[in-house]
Symmetry: C2
Subunit: 164 residues, 2 copies
């Protein structure tokens, strides 16, 4: 069993209209499409830019990034959308043992080593760790959403009235 | 601009029926539901286990893990499902600058610090970096899937015949 540290290096940086955490209206999190219109850029550093080839063929990309402003973590935490303490792995809190964030963005256009995207909920200056194509295997339906039930607005692909 | 290394530590380990890469039938990747029946366990180490509270309320969880068997990377690579060289960020290849993997699994049951899950495509012994709830914000529809077009079978939530 290997519990030694694993090191990663930023491959790029997010340019976002949110210059600090307080710029984000937390109500947006309650809407499945709350950030859909927020545009930003993913700048990939030149030494990794060749890997962006073909990304523009996909409508959506998964972005993994570092919650670089997050210090420390709590295993039990009160989510933005709830008043009850929850296990951190049932939340998207930035204060997690490994502060890795995940957002699925929509591709507007690629301009060389820069991707113009929509759906940005990251803070300006966020270090990018990875970009992956969002594929049909990432679509799940008939969701149960635990403590989020009733706290998040309409979303696509719901089956007939079992959840929410 | 901060390009220094960021270190993460495994919070757990995957127990999978796939003991080595050759145990995985690559044809499964061509089916959006190809791994849906594959059951495994996510063991979270005791010092992080308290964070699993409430995860069992969600039908699906996002698992981030280290591609621990992957050595080195190529910015341009031939995907399993294609004969053409593609940019690595348009693929889910394990040979990426930061070898982080992402799989959405279905929760069967939580037994203390162990999650029984379905949808496993990881190799046995894979180090787990993070677990997040899969939420409605992670569902995207009207996908365009670039070079994957025509190479992957039916998936849910397709709009009327624009893609694939």
């Amino acid at each position: 069993m290997n519990r030694s540290e694993i090191s990663f290096i930023p491959i790029g940086v997010i340019h976002s209209p949110f210059k600090k955490k307080a710029d984000i209206d937390p109500k947006k999190y309650a809407d499945a499409k709350g950030f859909d219109s927020i545009q930003g850029e993913i700048e990939i550093y030149e030494n990794y830019a060749a890997g962006l080839k073909d990304t523009e063929g996909f409508s959506h990309l998964v972005v993994l990034f570092a919650f670089h402003l997050s210090e420390g973590f709590s295993l039990i935490t009160k989510p933005l959308l709830d008043e009850t303490l929850r296990g951190v792995f049932s939340t998207r809190s930035p204060h997690r043992p490994n502060p890795i964030g995940l957002t699925v963005v929509e591709v507007v256009e690629r301009q060389g080593h820069i991707l113009l995207v929509r759906g940005v909920d990251m803070i300006d200056g966020t270090p990018v760790l990875d970009i992956k194509p969002y594929t049909p295997r990432d679509i799940k339906t008939d969701l149960r959403i635990g403590w989020l039930t009733g706290k998040i607005k309409d979303w696509p692909c719901r089956s007939s009235g079992t959840e929410g």
